[in-house]
């Protein structure tokens, strides 16, 4: 269906470098970085018709943007932030001097989107067992529906001044971004890091969409 729609509208689709729409089978670090570097506009680990329709129908925010849509399992398993940022540097969208900051923020955002968003896990408890329980919970929830089917969608856009906007959207229940974070001794520093390194951090869609902005 996705291929048919893309073909009809004259949009290249495939797993080859240079395709506008790239299906990642399976999602991998090198697959993401190479496709992004080669100019892909939409990357998916499984075909999602709505994503293609949005892209081809001009629903994307800006022409100079790209979207990476991954199931929670893929988003947690691969190094999304590292591979995406690596590709963005090679594509010329991200200055190498900003790569570390953007990668760390994106990493924290994706982990939050998967664990707190799609998998609906609360912050891990204090203590060593808190981390162990968190990891076990992540792997367990990733085997269950509807959690496993939920996706993380990352939209990257270029600002006029050469900076970047990166939106990370999950399909969880959302949260109140104005509420206290409830961070523990051992966890809860992700937002602090993002607020320190990004130019602007904001939430939309009831907390399901985190919007990061980075200066050039």
């Amino acid at each position: 269906m996705v291929r048919t729609l893309a073909d009809r509208l004259g949009c290249a689709i495939g797993s080859d470098e240079g395709a506008a729409i790239v299906l990642l089978h399976p999602a991998s670090d090198t697959g993401v970085s190479r496709a992004v570097a080669a100019g892909a506009r939409l990357l998916m680990d499984v075909p999602v018709l709505e994503e293609v329709q949005a892209l081809l129908g001009g629903a994307e925010p800006e022409p100079g943007s790209l979207r990476l849509s991954l199931a929670s399992g893929s988003a947690f398993r691969i190094n999304v932030a590292m591979s995406l940022c690596s590709g963005l540097v090679e594509r010329g969208w991200l200055h190498p001097g900003r790569q570390v900051d953007v990668e760390l923020c994106l990493h924290e955002a994706v982990v939050n989107a998967v664990t707190h968003g799609n998998l609906e896990l609360q912050r891990c408890a204090d203590g060593d067992s808190g981390f162990a329980d968190r990891l076990d919970s992540v792997y367990y929830q990733l085997t269950l529906m509807p959690f496993a089917a939920r996706r993380v969608v990352i939209d990257v856009g270029r600002r006029a001044d050469g900076g970047l906007t990166i939106d990370i959207q999950d399909q969880g229940k959302g949260f109140d971004p104005t509420a206290p974070t409830g961070g523990t001794t051992y966890s809860g520093r992700g937002m602090t890091i993002m607020r320190e390194l990004a130019e602007r951090v904001s939430h939309r869609d009831g907390g399901r969409r985190l919007c990061l902005e980075f200066r050039p």
Binding site: N79, M82, V100, E103, L104, H107, E108, V111, G127, D128, F131, A132, R134, L135, V138, T185, Y186, S187, G188, R189, G190, T192, I193, E196, L197
Partner: protein, 101 residues
């Protein structure tokens, strides 16, 4: 993340390399076990080969610290490179650990 634990006259030298994130907790558990066997002394984390650390990785150092303190073990973070050093600064780890270049 990979790690190597080496006994020294003063205690332990633990070398961490690669990327330290939530999925490394099981490996870090083994590191903490080695600290738990100490009775006094210094545990140096050699971070020269650590390329990336996230907020979960920071939390693991705090776990190590809480295990070490009752044992009288002093934890030091040595040789963090630019990216890791910056995160340690943001997290104000200099107020919690001795951090050396």
């Amino acid at each position: 993340m990979d790690y190597a634990v080496q006994s020294t006259d003063q205690g332990l030298n633990i070398s961490l390399t690669g990327r330290m994130t939530l999925i490394d907790h099981d490996k870090f558990r083994a590191v903490v076990d080695s600290i738990e066997r100490l009775n006094g002394g210094i545990c140096i984390f050699d971070l020269r080969g650590l390329e990336f650390i996230d907020s979960s990785g920071l939390g693991m150092f705090l776990i190590a610290r809480d295990v070490a303190q009752p044992k009288g073990v002093d934890i030091q973070l040595l040789g963090a490179q630019d990216a890791v050093r910056r995160i340690l600064q943001i997290a104000k780890f200099h107020t919690l650990f001795k951090i050396a270049p």
